[in-house]
């Protein structure tokens, strides 16, 4: 099949699997599982074929609809980075689907769940390959609604519905900006086709571009859970664990980073957007890592670590090293999917998310222990695991860029390495070492094969993907390709003018590498040392008075509640009262007044005979007078 056909098929295959899955009756588990796995496997296969056969970037485009001269097209635009991200999405989606078959074995709503995962995959792939901003927006928002449906899937958890609503609404608030940003770009370019938008950037005023980029950034911050729109992600842990893996690894949160990468000239031409992104990234990295230090729920630790790690990707984007951001996105996709699925196995065995109920699990679950160790090692950047290379590349990129934002990001990035090592060490020790702290933890068991295999297979890229940095071809594949038009021809002036760091390399082992390694050793060492003193005590107790602040992530949920949620609801109640009392009251009042007036007039007409006779005579007299007067005048 030619690439022109394969490109659009990439999102279409899981989409069809989703549509079919939604129509299945609730009891047909096997058919649902087959469809779901086939959809994900099909998407993975297509993305691999695309990546292998892709030479230079190509695109397809057909007219979709025309709104009074504004052109909306439907088409794909596939380059090497898109193909690589599509592979990551395919791998994670396939792992999640296979894993879910066993993980949701006793769930009576499995078919819609599997269909929603397929739809989620399709939406993410649409974002990855879309050649048009409107189609991209469709994928972007459908992902939001899928996250809502899946986070709210677990009907036994009382907090799940609220978490689902929060995830959708917080991202939707950001998406107000995203829509407006897309609208501005489309209006300026006269079309929403990405290639045309990028090639007409030089014609746009810098104010327009800055406004558009900042508006888009609001959507990106929401989707990628960056400060101040990060609050939904930890609560999203109410979703089933495979969903957490899906949302955190390759879809949803990755989408924000990917969109900045995809539209990099929009963000990088003016200065302000990258400064905003950089500051947000610095706050997010450290805030996420600090919040992770004090969580007891194993999934919440991982959730906050995602917030923090996405911060690294945003940091790389902010220092004009988009290929480094993409590199960290790919390694993170592998190890974070691994960590969540392994955590799911642990939860499956222990029957609780709480680390207080774990301990000593390494003896009963050696495979999960080994996989999780690789995942955590990659997370903290332990050489030679994947995360080491990508995180080191981010820090090197920050060192290589001028300006205060880069300095800030380097400093905070280094500090975050230490904090990350601390909480990862704590998670590792609290879960797998020491004495079991609950009855279930005393006799843990490895999960069934369909859950174990995805975890083991994900451990491979988590361990070795970093070495890809040694290959120049890989580095070349991640570089933002110059914009091409829909025929694949390189277009105009923007082609030369993508403002990125020229000499970024993905692989840097040198004297400077000592700094992150020192930070890592320090963080991990402190956690180890604290834990050694008393193995029964949570190392988080060493945080002392800071612990509640970290555990509640600096009370930002409460701030959001007080500043946005409650005022909006109060306003809603006031508007409802005003609308029903004021506006409708005026209408009802007019009605009542008219009826009242009529009743009064009717009352006057029901007079007793003497007064009625007088009135009639008086009327006759008046008419006579009037006639005489008018007649006289005439």
């Amino acid at each position: 099949m030619s690439l022109d056909v394969l490109g659009p098929l990439l999102p279409a295959v899981p989409f069809v699997a989703a549509l079919a899955g939604f129509l299945l009756p609730l009891r047909s588990r096997a058919a649902a599982a087959g469809l779901a796995v086939a959809g994900a496997a099909g998407a993975l296969l297509i993305s691999v074929v695309l990546a292998v056969r892709l030479g230079r970037p190509f695109g397809t485009s057909v007219d979709w609809i025309d709104f009074g001269g504004l052109q909306v097209t439907f088409g794909v635009r596939i380059d090497k980075p898109a193909a690589l991200v599509a592979i990551a999405v395919g791998v994670v989606a396939l792992a999640v689907q296979v894993y879910s078959v066993a993980y949701l074995a006793d769930d009576d709503r499995y078919p819609p769940y599997a269909a929603q995962v397929s739809l989620f995959t399709a939406a993410m792939l649409l974002v990855v390959v879309s050649g048009d901003l409107i189609a991209l927006l469709i994928g972007w928002e459908v992902m939001g609604i899928c996250s809502y449906l899946l986070i709210g899937h677990d009907r036994r958890l009382p907090e799940a519905p609220a978490a689902a609503v929060k995830a959708f609404l917080v991202t939707r608030v950001g998406d107000v900006g995203f829509l407006l940003g897309i609208a501005i770009l489309g209006i300026e370019a006269g079309t929403f086709r990405i290639a045309d938008v990028l090639s007409s950037l030089p014609d746009m005023s810098s104010t327009t571009l800055t406004v558009a980029a900042l508006l888009l950034l609001a959507g990106v911050l929401g989707k990628s859970a960056q400060f101040p729109l990060h609050t939904w992600l930890p609560d999203a842990m109410a979703g089933p664990t495979p969903i957490s893996a899906l949302i955190h690894a390759a879809t949803m949160v990755a989408a924000g980073i990917y969109v900045v990468f995809r539209l990099y000239p929009v963000f990088a031409t003016p200065d302000a957007p990258l400064v905003v992104l950089g500051v947000s990234a610095a706050i997010t990295m450290l805030l996420g890592a600090l919040a992770a230090t004090a969580q007891d729920d194993i999934k919440r630790v991982l959730a906050w670590s995602t917030v923090s790690q996405i911060g690294y990707m945003a940091a790389a984007l902010a220092v004009r090293a988009p290929e480094v951001a993409l590199f960290h996105l790919l390694t993170h996709a592998a190890f974070k999917a691994l960590l969540f699925l392994a955590a799911g196995s642990v939860i499956h065995a222990v029957g609780s998310n709480s680390m207080s109920a774990m301990g000593g699990l390494r003896r009963g679950m050696p495979v999960t222990f080994a996989s999780m160790t690789i995942g955590l090692g990659a997370l903290i950047g332990l050489p030679p695991l994947a995360g080491f290379f990508s995180k080191d590349a981010v820090l090197a990129a920050a060192r290589g860029e001028q300006g205060w934002v880069a300095v800030l990001l380097f400093g905070v990035g280094l500090l975050t390495v230490a904090v990350t090592a601390w909480y990862a060490m704590r998670l590792w020790l609290r879960t797998f070492f020491g004495e079991p702290r609950s009855a279930a933890a005393e006799h843990p068991h490895e999960p069934p094969g369909t859950m174990a295999w995805p975890v083991v297979l994900l451990a491979v890229p988590s361990a070795v993907l970093g070495f890809a940095a040694l290959s120049d071809r890989f580095g070349e594949s991640l570089r933002t390709p110059p914009p091409v038009d829909w025929l694949g021809e390189y277009t105009g002036p923007a082609a030369q003018a993508i403002p990125v760091q020229a000499a970024v390399e993905l692989f840097h082992v040198g004297v400077e590498t000592i700094w992150p390694l020192l930070a890592l050793s320090f963080g991990a060492g402190v956690a180890w040392w604290v834990w050694r003193r008393d193995r029964a005590v949570d190392p988080a107790s060493a945080l002392g008075p800071l612990r509640p602040a970290f555990a509640s992530a600096f009370w930002l949920d409460a701030v959001q509640d007080a500043l946005v949620v409650r005022p909006t609801l109060a306003l809603a109640r006031a508007v409802r009262a005003g609308d029903e009392g004021g506006v409708d009251g005026a209408v009802e009042g007019t009605g009542r007044a008219t009826v009242g007036l009529g009743a009064r007039l009717a009352g006057w007409h029901r007079a007793a005979l003497p007064r009625a006779a007088t009135a009639v005579l008086a009327g006759a007299l008046l008419i006579g007078l009037a006639a005489a007067a008018i007649g006289g005048v005439l």
Partner: protein
């Protein structure tokens, strides 16, 4: 083909007559006959489609296109003494609305076949629905201003009867409010129509469009009258308060017709008559119209956020959604009017579905209070699933029908430029987020959590076959229009272009 055009109006009229004359002993058979007539009218309206009529070439190239170029038309003398003509026609602007009207009437008649609401005889309800269809379809087809007014008014009394006879507990008050409020609008419409007809010397919309022969003052005066009349019908904040009562008290099929197509008479009238006949007036009043439209979006969403009754919430959501449609119209641009057209259709499909669902839930649980509902997905997963789909479609999720109208009303507003319209576009976009908020709240209250006593005793649990038959076309359309917006706009592009260029001349 003009036979078909007449048939679209004659079939339901004839059907209403036949159904009303059938004796009471064959009530079900009478409803079946009515449904058959509705089906025939639907087929006739669909067959009016004329592919190939959409090319730009069909309009004269140099002389400027005629503003209305119907695919089919019938133009006969009606009351020669008063120089009234029976002039109807269909083009790309009216065709989607016409088909939506006949489709929804068919679905409602079919639904009545299965479940006739209490309060009156089922066949009378079907007959009234068919008369309402005649009025609404006639409004969309009329190319003569006086005829337009006549059809516009035909709808009023049957709808009054539907609400007052088959409605809920507060039906009399709601029906009276509906009829009086819209009559107030009608009076203004009447004055507006005759102002235009008297000044221009013709009532033919094809000649009037573009403001030909009307002075600026006349146009301003006429537009204000017409706009208020249509604003009551659409409804535009703050002239909307008949709507929540009427929608809430009307029987399910009444609400579906009300929200689905009756409101569209207002927006369609605004596009074809208001903007078309008095463009200078429209341009003059556009900032006010746009501001009120955005106020409707925000107020409607906020009221929904604090609403406690299911049907009332959906009714108020119409205020917000029609706000987007009116914002699109107010920009007076091709982008905005096309957004308004697809927004109209999408709202008809999705809100029609939502009212069907609200009716199904209220019939089963015997309450519509959000506080008493809950856990629907525990008890009735399919009903909850369809409700979820309809709510998601209604909040404007990209990829479903509701998205295009709302997003492109915002785009049109931003494209219009200037500080006012930029702010209006941005606030409307925020209104989109509020819309998401209240639908999320609705779903959380109704579908999530443990089953409430009212929901736990709900019966029947599953979906009845006739319900599926009535809903399935709407579900499919909500998805299909979302994926292929050209289904609606494919035929509208050129007439809209012609209209806006006539307006800007």
């Amino acid at each position: 083909m003009s036979v078909l055009l007449v048939a679209t109006l004659a079939l339901p009229a004839l059907g209403a007559l036949v159904v009303a004359l059938l004796p009471g002993s064959v009530d079900r058979a009478a409803r079946l006959v009515g449904t058959a007539f509705a089906a025939a009218a639907f087929v006739a309206s669909v067959m009016l489609y004329r592919p190939g009529a959409t090319g730009w070439f069909t309009y004269g190239a140099n002389a400027g296109p005629p503003p209305i170029r119907p695919w089919h038309e019938v133009d006969v003398s009606w009351v020669p003494g008063l120089d009234l003509r029976f002039h109807i026609g269909v083009d790309g602007i009216s065709y989607p609305l016409l088909v939506l009207t006949t489709l929804l009437t068919l679905l409602c008649c079919g639904y009545t076949l299965w479940l006739a609401p209490a309060g009156g005889r089922g066949r009378s309800l079907v007959a009234l629905l068919l008369i309402i269809e005649v009025g609404i379809a006639g409004t969309f087809l009329a190319l003569d201003l006086v005829l337009f007014f006549v059809f516009f008014e035909v709808v009023l009394l049957p709808m009054y009867a539907v609400i007052a006879v088959w409605g809920g507990d507060g039906r009399r008050h709601a029906a009276r409010k509906f009829v009086l409020y819209t009559l107030f609008g009608s009076v203004l419409l009447l004055v507006g129509v005759f102002t235009v007809v008297a000044k221009a010397g013709t009532a033919d919309l094809t000649e009037l469009t573009g403001g030909v022969g009307l002075s600026r003052t006349t146009q301003l005066f006429a537009f204000v009258l017409l706009a208020i009349a249509f604003a009551v019908k659409s409804p535009l904040w703050p002239l909307h308060t008949w709507l929540p009562d009427a929608h809430t008290e009307a029987p399910t099929v009444g609400s579906v017709i009300l929200a689905g197509v009756l409101l569209k008479m207002g927006t369609y009238g605004l596009i074809r008559v208001g903007v078309g006949v008095a463009p200078e007036g429209a341009a003059w009043a556009a900032p006010v119209l746009g501001t009120l439209a955005v106020a409707a979006i925000v107020v409607g969403s906020l009221v929904c956020l604090a609403q406690t009754e299911l049907k009332r919430l959906i009714a108020y959501s119409s205020v917000g959604h029609m706000g987007f449609v009116l914002l699109g119209i107010a920009t007076l641009s091709a982008t905005g009017i096309e957004a308004a057209l697809i927004g109209n259709i999408a709202h008809g499909v999705i809100t029609g579905l939502l009212f069907f669902l609200a009716g199904a839930i209220k019939d089963r649980a015997h309450t519509g209070l959000l506080g008493e509902l809950g856990g629907l997905r525990e008890r009735s997963p399919w009903l909850a699933g369809v409700l979820g789909f309809a709510a998601i479609a209604s909040l404007g999720l990209p990829g479903l029908a509701g998205f295009w109208g709302e997003a492109f009303a915002v785009v049109a507003s931003l494209r219009h430029g200037g500080p006012l319209w930029t702010v209006l576009g941005a606030v409307a976009a925020v209104g989109g987020a509020l819309t998401a908020a209240y639908f999320m709240r609705l779903l959380r209250r109704v579908t999530h959590g443990p089953a409430s006593p009212a929901v736990a005793s709900l019966s029947p649990v599953g979906l009845a076959g006739p319900e599926l038959v009535a809903w399935a076309p709407l579900i499919v359309l909500a998805l299909a229009i979302g994926l292929i917006p050209a289904l609606v706009l494919g035929v509208a592009g050129d007439p809209v272009q012609a209209l806006t260029s006539a307006v800007q001349r």
